[in-house]
Symmetry: C2
Subunit: 151 residues, 2 copies
């Protein structure tokens, strides 16, 4: 496993409110399918519905008090085989598989594992987000609205 994080997804109750907050700080992102992606150095910070994030991660999140961090870290890899290997390795290491590796709605393949403290990692192969040779992730043009267009 290369020592890097590809994305951090923050679960949010109101996407427009969350996006406005980060835009007021000067961040500019791309919005696609009710997700906002911000390039952040060699990785990506994204905003997505907290409830969808919980469901997608195999935990069932409510706004608070359920033990769900409301944040998911993602480690992207270069093949479906690497997803299977890494999820299995994390389970052997004491992690809990919350979503077994499977095809994803975005055309990739991914599984989710909680570390011993319940912090969630998605291990993902996403052909739409190719990794650079050094493992960094640079967003392609997603064809969505950029920050400058938003109110």
């Amino acid at each position: 496993m290369e020592q890097r994080i590809s994305l951090i997804t923050l679960g949010v109750a109101d996407l427009a409110r969350a996006r406005s907050f980060y835009e007021a700080l000067g961040w500019r992102g791309q919005e696609v399918e009710e997700t906002v992606f911000f390039q952040a150095g060699g990785m990506v910070l994204s905003l997505w519905s907290r409830e969808k994030l919980a469901a997608d991660s195999g935990v069932f999140g409510l706004p608070s008090g359920d033990g769900f961090d409301g944040i998911v870290l993602a480690h992207n890899v270069r093949s479906t085989g690497e997803v299977d290997e890494l999820v299995a390795r994390a389970e052997q290491a004491g992690g809990t598989v919350t979503r077994a590796p499977a095809d994803t709605f975005y055309g990739g393949y991914a599984g989710c594992v909680a570390d011993p403290d319940g912090h969630l990692w998605e291990i993902a192969f996403n052909p739409g987000f190719p990794l650079a040779e050094d493992g960094s992730l640079h967003l392609p043009d997603l064809g969505g609205a950029d920050g400058a267009d938003a109110s």
Copy 2:
């Protein structure tokens, strides 16, 4: 505000257990003052006591069910003045200051702000962790035990 994250700190109940998990996945870090720091691309993933992390962030965390994510993102800047400016700007943008900017135990200066969904950001000036020109953070030799020595 430059569009980047300097550190992600995961609050953990048992540092040795958490460190062992990440080491079993192949990660190697440095442990200093009951904190483990892993270089992760141009940023740092760290492990620290969940209760200390909550207290340090100005929230009062219990192991679960308290609305504390258990994760804090840090955005490091290059001066104490930038900390004050950015914390004020985040508050104006709708964030909640959970810890007003002040000197820190590690010889820096920092404040903490919760975004509208309660996700915590530490805005920090840390002279011990200088930023590269591109804003990336590369750990210096902290003089602590490295991962190869552990377990």
